[in-house]
Structures are given as structure tokens and as C-alpha cells.
Amino acid sequence: MAFVEVRDLSKTYRSGEVSVEALKEVSFDIHEGEILAILGPSGCGKSTLLNCLSGIDTPTDGKVTVKGVDLHSLKDDEKTRFRAMNMGFVFQFYNLIPVLKAVENVELAMLTMGSNEKKAREAAMEILAKVNLREREYYLPSRLSGGERQRVSIARALVHKPAIVWADEPTGALDTKTSNDLMNLIAELNETFNQTFVIVTHDERVSAYSNRVLHMDSGRILKIEENRELKV
């Protein structure tokens, strides 16, 4: 059994009379330890797919199995807890808590899992060092640059050593150089911790860092291709 199995996943948004079929019977597998890029034009359903995979959104139809657990058969709170234990998130707009310092933002993920304060702080410091944010630990997000903020958000996604990390347009708000640095960092971390990364992007340069690229359009998978010349 694959690490994540996606079968006949559909999602239709309904608002009044209008309904939008954002996903149309999508099926594929995600392998443990890989970096999978989901590539496609804006509005093709990438985010919808990612949200259904991670369980923060519910599909209209179909099934997602993560580590053998049928994700959408869980109750809301169980799903939430499952996420806390097994998943990490990176968002386009970082979504850091403005009143918490970098390290506090990071340790939040540990605390949510139920870890104790001391361990959480140690782990957060360690991962911040890994993402090259030594000496920025006690900065509030407002004093960090965009790239730094995204690295904090990656640290937050990784600190509790989740099996899988979801990233929706992680470089969307960053310039090219910072984007490259960030993707290098992700590839490096993937190497070190052997965590699975699923990265949504509409940028070919970003997908170049992945093991496999899933091409999407209009709610369907066009093709899945292996990436031979991995760019690290």
C-alpha cells in the first residue's frame, strides 16, 4: 500500500445556483520520502486537491488514505488531531502569528501535539538553526523579511517531525532568488529527514526541485512525470 492513496477524488463547490467542479475523479499515489510537485495554471484545482489530501477540506466524493488511515472517515476533531501528529503546513502568505516571536511560532506546532514546553523550545531552536535562522529566533515576524518568514513557517511545519508536509505556493510571495534558496532548503531537508513533501505551484522552476511532477488542468490530472535531472 502506498504512503498516500488517492482514489476517485471529486470536489464540487456549490454556491446557490452555480456549481464549480474543481476536482474530477482524481486518483494517484504519493510515495514515502518523495517531493511531489503539483503543477498547473491558476484556478485548475491544485489548492482544492491539496486541501482535500490534508483533510482541511472535505471532498464531495472519493477516498484519501494516509498511512493506511481513511482520512475522511474520521470525525472533525480526530482529523484535526491526525493532522497535528502527522502533517506539517507551509502557506503562501506564511500565516505566522504576529504577536509571537519566531521561536514561539515554531514551537506552537510542538505544543499543539501535546509536547512539553522545554522540549518544544529545544526542538524549535534546533530546526530554526537548520533553516538558517540562528539569531533571528526572538524576532517578531514583522521584523523578518519575506524569505525569513517563509523559513520560519517551514520550521513550524517540520519541527514536530511530521510524516508529510503540504506546501501551497510556498514561493508565491517571494522573489526568484529567495524562491531558489527556499526550494534548495526544502530539498535539503527532504534529504536529511526523509519527509514527504507535496508542493503546489504554478511555477515550472519550482517543480524542477521535485522527484515527480503531477500536471493538472481543469480539475483533472494530465500526466505524472518522473523528474530525472533533479535540480539541487
Binding site: I56, T80, R81, A84, P98, V99, L100, L108, G114, R156
Partner: protein
């Protein structure tokens, strides 16, 4: 005056805004559309700002109603009478001296022609006893003290008050003289037109029953104001008046002097109210006619100025000031958040070429809509509040009236109730509306300007703006200037002997110094200065200047309260991180709850401005409520504690003011209901104070008083071999030449002092008793006998509330030199019965038994009941008013949490994505509310209590004890806290329901 100016300003501002809206249709559209963006927010913003208007309007309407009530009383008692002319006399009551006929003629002739006068009426006024034939001499409630006014019918008919009253004064006939009486007298005496009344003009003839009394016939019963009510001599509540032809009056009163009148009343042109404006000129004219020999009393002006000073609406306005202040804090918070919310779009507008002014207008217009709307509703709500509070007052009066053991209380209450009605002036409504508008508008203009200055780039990218170095420095400089000004203020206050100025200067300097210091982490400095300010205020009475003004200057008291409150607030706001640290330490072990704690406390603790404003809002409200609870409660407790002092520990005081009783001591003593009866005889003595004499009461007490009185908290001389108060009383009995003195009448007498007394010549004036007599200075002819020295062996503390305030001496020891002047004898006794109910029942039985005698009984528990009903009632009315103030806090926190919900939507989405459950999100919102509310409530309670302690520590309150109603305070704050939580349930619930995918998708 201030109110008018502000309102005028507001009115102009409204017009200016409307004009600018018309000229900026696009901005107008944006502002207007923004209102509809979030219905719940709009609702709450309007709620929040209408409370301020409601409180202002409520106070003003209350002011109007009370004023109208008091004016109506003045109209009744004074009518058109503006001035009264009479000849003062040294030892006789006003108006007893006759004015020469020639003078009267000059006055009447000249004033009738005076343009500024529309009425002149010479009168002969006397207080007489009247009743049905055979009853005028009685003292059993069937005779009445009446103001008999002799006048000429033709002059009366020209007097403005009697316009429209069909008043025919009889010319002399062979029949009985005819009189016109007012309705009150007719009702009390139960007489009708045609009935005969008997007149006792000379109280000295009361007992000379063989002398026949003159009779008069009631020709007319009238209702009316002024001359039909005005009581020239004693101003009692009943105001019985009898008008009679002057010649007949002379006959009835047996007046033989050639002069006719003893007073002249004058009415200025205009009605009862507007005539007062001409007072100075009319008084000038009168003075120029008659010189200094006659006195002109400005009766109307005096009463009106009393009304304007003692208006209770003002008290509510003062209380409102706090609630309004809290409301202003809330509005500042709301509009800062609103500005924050609109920042991105306003930045975009700036980017595409809108000028600062136009951008700030979007906020201005939006706020203007809210304010107009909320001010309108606020006015209505305020009128409702005023009605409610007035209703409570009427209920309170009713309760009190039913407890007053006088026959007349209910009649007086009914007449009062009919004129005590809800009333509001149209211009008050206009002022209320405009004042309700001005506060939000000022705040809106401020936030609008602030937002228009935002950096376009940071605004568009929604990056928080830091307080930059220049602004920080500017703040330091402004604060430094403030410190300088405060120091000057303190210094000039000190050198001019103005305690309030001095104190305020020192406090402001103390609070501003840390702000002026250009430093980043000011936690320590700020804490130090805040604590210093609190300590200084608490100890401020050790400065003579401040101590001598404490308690007497209301402004000083307010300044002290404000100093404590603000210092406390600064202390808290600068130490929010300390709180956060401590709380996090405390809840570290709480595993699952730890992240919830962490973020909810971080959100409030690290948003200093917003949290500070919200805490201040809570604290201000609770501060006032605490003060209002503690001070009257302490008064009530004092009263309860003084139960044993009111009648010196006896259950009942029996008073007879006329010097003769229908029921004798032995008779009373033999009643089954009476136990341990004691006699107290009061007589007037002249007491030497430095080089002059003043009248005091000395009470001669008997053995039963010595043995059974309950006055136990006395100070007494050492060295008499006395260890217990009991022995002190015995010592008083055994040693002639000793007295015990109440410090409440003679505050500076100490045990061991020697007092010099003389006899006071009997005035033979039994009609008016000691009250009128005591107000006057003693002239040398009134003092008799050689000096008698008495040694003070003990003193009764100043704060003792007692009916017998004066000098206490054992009856057998009264020096013969002092006896002889008419003595009043009162009885004190205990009731038989073990329980309060039994005693009360016995009291009622006894009262029925002696109903026909002239003895007047008061049961101490009835008095306690009455006063505590009054106090309790007043407290609860004041408090119900402040509950409206509490609404500010409750609505405020709801608004703030709603805004937080919108602001943090994405963050909440993120939290839910990374593993926050619904419960965690929900509780993090409630926790945040709790953190703010609890700190605010505690701060308000602590600073309020400290302020009460400080007030009670002032020298003026010497001997007054502070009692803190913990149970009341705790239950009240709990209610407040729970209400705050409840009000944030909706936003907390909405937060917990946020769908993460949804929240994360858009960048709002």
C-alpha cells in the same frame, strides 16, 4: 455654557461634513457601502457609541426633571413674590416689627409706578393657632399653625398671583369676620365654606381657657401659589394660609399700634421665574426709597440659586463622566481597529492617486453615519433611562414616606409626587444629540488623519507599521513638556495654597516622567513611578496643605481617585508581559491547554494599546461602581452601629416639645409595654467659647439613664480611678460639678476641660422652640446668673449619631443657677419583649394607647429602617444608573472580539490546519476575554478600594470607619465578568467554526 458651546461646535461640524459629502460623492459611496459590509459589526459599533449618548441624555433629562420639580415647588411656595421688605429685629421673629405707615405709603406709591414691578402688597403676617371652635387651644392635632395674612382687598386684587382667583375679601360687618383659606388648610382641618374657625393668636393664652377666643367664618377656599402659600415665619411642609381683611386682622390679633403692616411683598415684572432677573434693579429702587432701615430680602433669587446648586442631575452627570470616559476609550478602540481593517484598501486608494484628505474622509463619513444613527438612538435610550431612574426615585420616596411616623408624610408625598414627573426640555434633547455626536467625531477625525498618514507600501502589503524613531522621540518631547507644565502647576499650586493644583501637578509629573524618558524597555521605571504615585496619593494627607483640603474639595478627591486609577493602569499595561510570563509558567503543565494559553495571552499581552484601552474601560466602570458601593455602605454600617447611640441605647424616645404633657411620667411608667424608663430634661444654657457665649443644650439625666444607657464608647479622664465606662456614669452621678460632653456639638472639648456656663433668660416663646433660637447669637441681655464651672469627665465621640447632643449632667447635680429656664422633658425607655417583633408589637400597642396625648414616640428600629431604606434605595438607584455604564464594557469586549475574529481569520484557519480543534479555538477566544476582563475588573476594584481608603483617611472623616461590602463587590464583578464572557460567545463560536480551507484561500 460649555455644553452650549460644544453643541454649537458639533452643529457646525455636522453641516460641514454633510456639505463635504455632497462634494465628494465617490468617497461618500465608499464610506456608505462600508457600513453594510458586516452587519454584526455595524450593530455593535452603534451600540457602543450610543451608550455614551444615552448616559449624557439620561443625566440631562434627569437634571431637567429635578429642576422642573424644584421650580414647581418654588412656584407654589413663592409664586410671584420676588422680594420681601421688613424691619429686622434682634430677638423677635422676622416680620413682627411694624413698618411705619408713612414708609408703606411711599413704597406702595412709588413701586406701583415702577416699570419693573408688577405687584406691591403690604401685609400683616402672624402665625396663629386655629381650629374648629373649642379646638384652637388643643395640642392633639386638631389645631393648626396658620400664617394669617391681613391685607386690603383692592391691593390684593392687583397682586399677580391671584389673577383669576375669585377672591372677595369682606368689608367689616356685624357678623363674624370672613377669611379666605387655602385648600391645604381646608383639607387638614376638614372645614367647608361657611364653617367657623377659632383663632388663638397668643400662645400665652393657651392655658388661660376662660378667656374667649375670636372666631372667623370661612368665606372661600382657594388653590393657588405664592401669597396663598408663602410662609413668612416658619417654613413648614404644610403651608397653611389664611387671608383676612387688614382691619379685621387687627381686631382678631388685638393689635393696637397705629402702624398696620409688618411686611411688604414685591413682584417683579415677568412670571414667577423670569421676574427674578430684575431682582438687583428692583432691590436698588427699594433701597433708594427707604434706605438701610428696612431690609429687602431677595427671596426668589435665594431659593432659585439653592435649586441650581443642589441639583441631583449634576450628580448623575458626574457619574456619567466616568461611563462616558469609558465609552470614549471604547470608541477609540473601535475606530483604531476599523482603520486597521481598512488599511489595505485605503493604501490602495492612496496608491491610485487619492489625496490624504480624501482618504481620511472615507473613515470620517463611515463614522459619521454610525454616529448620527447611534446618537439618535442614544437620545431615546437616555430618555428611557431617565424615566426609569425617576420612577425608581418616586418608588423610593413612596417607601420612605410610608416609613415616616408622621401623619403629614403621606400628604406631603402625594403633593410632591404629582409635581415630580418626567420632563425634558427640547433644547436638552438637541444638546444631548450633538454632544453624543461630538465625542465619536473627534475620535474619528483623529483616526482618519492617522490612517491617511500611513505608508502606502506597508499598507498595501499589510505589513504592520512600527512606531518609528521620530514619532517615539516626539512622544518623549511632548511628555517632557508635560512634565515641565506639571512641575509649574505643582509649584504654583503649592505657593498659592491650592491643594488640588499642587496634587495634580505632582501626580501628572510622576505619571509623565517615565513616558518622557527615551528608553526602550521601561518596565522597571514605569512600575517604580506608578507605585510611587499610588503611595504618594495614599500618604498625601501627611502634607498639611493636602490634608486641610481633603474631603472638602471634591476636585481634590477626584484628582486623587484619578491618580490612583491611572497609576494602576500604567502599572498593569507596562507589566502585561510580566503577567504573561507568570500565567504561562502557571499553565505550562496544562499540556493540551498550553498552546491555547500561549496564543490567547500573547494576543492580549502584546497588543498593548488595544488591551490597555480595553482594560482601562473595564477598570473605569468598576472603579466608580466600587466607590459608589463602598461609601454609602460604610455610611449605612455606621448607622447600624449607632443604633445604641440614637436614644442612648434605649428602644424608644418620647418627645414633648410644649413643656406640658397629657400623660405623666408615672402613667407612662405604669404601662406594661414600658421598661426602664428614664427622664431627660433639656435646658438651654449659655456656654462660654473664648470671649463670647453660645447657646447649648444641657441634658439632666436620672438614675435609670445612668444605670441603663448604652453609650459605651466614651473617652474619659485618666486618674479618676475609673476603668470602665459604667463607672464613669456612676462617677457623674456621685460628683456634682461634672459633665459628659458630645464631641459632635463641641468637637474640641477634651476630657479634663472645664466649661463655663450661665443661665439663659427664658424667652417665653414656646411657639418656635429652640431651633430658631439657636441660630441667633446671644445678646448680653439674654444671659443671666454668674458663671458656673463644670468639669468634663468624659466625651462622646464625634461620629456618634444621637438625638441628645450636648452636655449630660446628673439631674440632682444641676446647679441651681442654671435651673428655672424652661426645661423640655423627654423620656427614654426600653420596650418589653424579647424579640424585635415583640418589641415592635408592643410599641404599636403603646402608641395607640397614648395617641390622644401630646407625646410623640419614636422607636429606634423604625428610624434605622427608614434611614437604611433611604440609603439602600439611593445606592441601588445610583448603581442601576451605573449598570448602563457596565454595558460599555460588555458591548465593548464583544466588539473587540468580533474585530479580532475578522482580523485573525487566516491565522485561525492556519491554527486549525496545524491541529487546533474547535474547542481549542473557542477557549482561546474566551481566555483572551477573561484575561482582559479579569485584569480590568481587578484593577478597578483595587484602585476603587484604595481610593475609598484614602477618602476615609482624610482628617475630615476622622472617626468614620470604612466598611467594604465584599459580598456585594464580588457578586457584582462576577456578574460583570460572566456578562462579558457571554457577550463574546458569539464571536468565539464563529471563530471555532471557521473552515480552514476557506479562511486560508483568500487574502482579505
Amino acid at each position: 455654557m460649555i455644553i452650549q458651546t460644544i453643541s454649537l461646535f458639533a452643529g457646525i461640524a455636522v453641516i460641514a461634513i454633510v456639505v463635504s459629502m455632497i462634494r465628494n460623492p465617490i468617497i461618500f459611496k465608499i464610506g456608505y457601502r462600508n457600513i453594510h459590509r458586516r452587519k454584526s459589526d455595524t450593530f455593535l459599533v452603534i451600540m457602543g457609541s450610543l451608550i455614551g449618548t444615552a448616559l449624557i441624555m439620561g443625566s440631562m433629562a434627569m437634571n431637567d426633571s429635578f429642576q422642573k420639580f424644584l421650580y414647581s415647588q418654588i412656584e407654589r411656595t413663592h409664586g410671584e413674590i420676588d422680594e420681601m421688605v421688613y424691619i429686622p429685629s434682634d430677638n423677635q421673629n422676622v416680620g413682627k416689627e411694624f413698618i411705619p405707615n408713612s414708609k408703606i405709603k411711599i413704597l406702595v406709591d412709588s413701586l406701583s409706578k415702577n416699570e419693573q414691578v408688577d405687584g406691591v402688597l403690604p401685609i400683616l403676617s402672624r402665625t396663629v393657632s386655629t381650629g374648629l371652635p373649642g379646638e384652637a387651644r388643643s395640642q392633639t392635632g386638631k389645631s393648626f399653625q396658620v400664617s394669617m395674612i391681613g391685607l386690603k382687598a383692592d391691593q390684593l386684587s392687583r397682586w399677580p398671583d391671584v389673577d383669576g382667583v375669585d377672591l372677595v375679601l369682606p368689608s367689616a360687618r356685624d357678623e363674624l369676620p370672613e377669611v379666605v383659606i387655602n385648600k391645604e388648610l381646608a383639607e387638614a382641618a376638614e372645614v367647608e365654606v361657611g364653617d367657623t374657625l377659632e383663632i388663638l393668636a397668643d400662645p400665652g393664652q393657651r392655658l388661660l381657657f376662660w378667656i374667649p377666643l375670636p372666631e372667623v367664618r370661612v368665606a372661600e377656599i382657594v388653590e393657588g401659589n405664592g401669597i396663598l402659600h408663602y410662609q413668612i415665619e416658619n417654613q413648614g411642609p404644610n403651608a397653611f394660609t389664611m387671608l383676612i381683611d387688614i382691619e379685621e386682622a387687627r381686631e382678631v390679633l388685638k393689635i393696637s399700634v397705629e402702624d398696620y403692616y409688618n411686611a411688604l411683598v414685591v413682584s417683579n415684572r415677568g412670571d414667577f421665574l423670569t421676574g427674578e432677573r430684575l431682582t438687583d434693579e428692583v432691590v436698588g429702587s427699594i433701597k433708594s426709597l427707604v434706605g438701610e432701615e428696612l431690609v429687602v430680602r431677595e427671596v426668589k433669587k435665594d431659593s432659585l440659586s439653592m435649586v441650581d446648586q443642589g441639583n441631583i442631575g449634576l450628580l448623575f452627570l458626574m457619574l456619567s463622566v466616568f461611563a462616558i470616559f469609558a465609552g470614549a476609550l471604547l470608541l477609540t478602540n473601535i475606530y483604531l481597529m476599523l482603520a486597521q481593517e481598512r488599511r489595505t484598501e485605503l493604501g490602495t486608494l492612496r496608491a491610485i492617486g487619492y489625496s490624504r484628505r480624501r482618504v481620511s474622509r472615507t473613515i470620517l463619513y463611515e463614522g459619521f453615519f454610525y454616529s448620527i444613527f447611534s446618537s439618535g438612538i442614544g437620545v431615546l435610550a437616555g430618555l428611557g433611562i431617565a424615566r426609569f431612574i425617576l420612577g425608581s426615585f418616586v418608588n423610593l420616596f413612596e417607601d420612605v414616606a410610608s416609613l415616616i411616623p408622621f401623619e403629614g408624610a403621606n400628604i406631603a408625598f402625594n403633593s410632591m409626587q404629582s409635581s415630580f414627573v418626567f420632563f425634558v426640555r427640547i433644547d436638552s434633547i438637541a444638546y444631548g444629540f450633538l454632544l453624543g455626536l461630538i465625542i465619536p467625531m473627534i475620535i474619528i477625525v483623529y483616526t482618519g488623519r492617522k490612517i491617511s498618514r500611513t505608508n502606502i507600501v506597508t499598507a498595501v502589503r499589510n505589513i504592520p507599521e512600527e512606531l518609528d524613531e521620530r514619532k517615539r522621540l516626539l512622544l518623549n518631547v511632548i511628555a517632557a513638556i508635560g512634565v515641565l507644565v506639571s512641575v509649574v502647576m505643582a509649584y504654583s499650586g503649592y505657593s498659592l495654597g491650592n491643594a488640588t493644583g499642587f496634587f495634580t501637578g505632582v501626580m501628572l509629573a510622576g505619571l509623565l516622567i517615565p513616558v518622557a524618558i527615551p528608553m526602550k524597555d521601561k518596565r522597571l521605571i514605569e512600575s517604580f513611578f506608578s507605585i510611587a504615585v499610588i503611595v504618594f496619593t495614599m500618604l498625601s494627607n501627611s502634607f498639611d496643605l493636602i490634608a486641610s483640603n481633603s474631603g472638602s474639595s471634591i476636585y481634590l478627591t477626584i484628582a486623587k481617585g484619578a491618580a490612583i486609577l491611572f497609576a494602576g493602569l500604567f502599572l498593569i499595561v507596562y507589566n502585561l508581559k510580566t503577567f504573561e510570563y507568570l500565567l504561562n509558567k502557571l499553565f505550562q503543565k496544562a499540556r493540551a491547554a498550553a498552546p491555547v494559553f500561549k496564543i490567547s495571552i500573547a494576543f492580549s499581552a502584546r497588543n498593548r494599546l488595544r488591551t490597555g484601552l480595553t482594560i482601562a474601560m473595564f477598570a473605569v466602570v468598576i472603579f466608580v461602581i466600587t466607590l459608589i458601593s463602598i461609601i454609602p455602605y460604610s455610611m449605612e454600617q455606621m448607622l447600624v452601629k449607632s443604633r445604641d447611640a440614637i436614644f442612648a441605647g434605649f428602644d424608644v424616645g418620647a418627645f414633648s416639645f410644649t413643656g406640658e404633657r397629657a400623660i405623666t411620667f408615672t402613667e407612662l411608667k405604669s404601662q406594661l409595654e414600658v421598661r426602664e424608663i428614664s427622664t431627660v430634661s433639656g435646658l438651654n444654657v449659655a456656654l462660654r467659647r473664648d470671649d463670647r457665649y453660645a447657646v447649648e443644650q444641657i441634658y439632666a439625666v436620672d438614675d435609670n439613664f445612668i444605670d441603663h444607657n448604652g453609650l459605651t464608647e466614651l473617652d474619659f479622664v485618666e486618674g479618676l480611678g475609673i476603668s470602665e465606662v459604667k463607672d464613669l456614669w456612676n462617677y457623674l452621678r456621685d460628683n456634682p460639678g461634672t459633665v459628659i460632653v458630645s464631641n459632635s456639638v463641641l468637637p474640641d472639648v477634651r476630657p479634663g476641660d472645664v466649661l463655663e456656663l450661665r443661665r439663659v433668660v427664658d424667652q417665653g416663646d414656646s411657639g418656635h422652640g429652640a431651633a430658631a433660637f439657636m441660630q441667633r447669637r446671644l445678646s448680653s441681655e439674654m444671659i443671666d446668673s454668674g458663671p458656673i464651672d463644670l468639669e468634663v469627665i468624659g466625651t462622646i465621640p464625634e461620629n456618634t449619631i444621637s438625638f441628645f447632643n450636648g452636655l449630660l449632667i446628673y439631674i440632682e447635680n444641676v446647679p441651681s443657677e442654671l435651673t428655672g429656664s424652661s426645661a423640655e422633658r423627654h423620656f427614654l425607655f426600653n420596650l418589653s419583649g424579647d424579640s424585635g417583633e415583640e418589641k415592635k408589637a408592643n410599641f404599636d400597642v403603646l402608641q395607640d394607647k397614648i395617641a390622644s396625648s401630646s407625646l410623640f414616640l419614636l422607636y429606634v428600629d423604625d428610624i434605622m429602617n427608614l434611614t437604611s431604606t433611604m440609603l439602600q434605595g439611593t445606592i441601588s438607584i445610583l448603581r442601576s444608573f451605573l449598570y448602563f455604564g457596565m454595558l460599555v464594557g460588555i458591548v465593548g469586549i464583544a466588539i473587540i472580539m468580533f474585530k479580532a475574529l475578522h482580523e485573525r481569520k487566516r491565522i485561525i484557519g492556519m491554527l486549525k490546519a496545524i491541529g487546533f480543534t474547535k474547542t481549542m479555538v473557542f477557549s482561546s477566544f474566551l481566555l483572551e476575554t477573561s484575561f482582559i476582563a479579569i485584569i480590568g475588573i481587578l484593577l478597578g476594584m483595587v484602585t476603587g478600594t484604595l481610593t475609598s481608603v484614602e477618602i476615609y483617611a482624610s482628617p475630615l472623616m476622622e472617626g468614620m470607619k470604612l466598611y467594604i461590602p465584599w459580598d456585594q463587590l464580588i457578586s457584582m464583578t462576577l456578574i460583570f465578568y460572566i456578562a462579558s464572557l457571554v457577550s463574546t460567545i458569539v464571536p468565539s463560536y464563529s471563530a471555532s467554526k471557521i473552515a480552514p480551507a476557506e479562511a486560508l484561500r483568500y487574502f482579505e
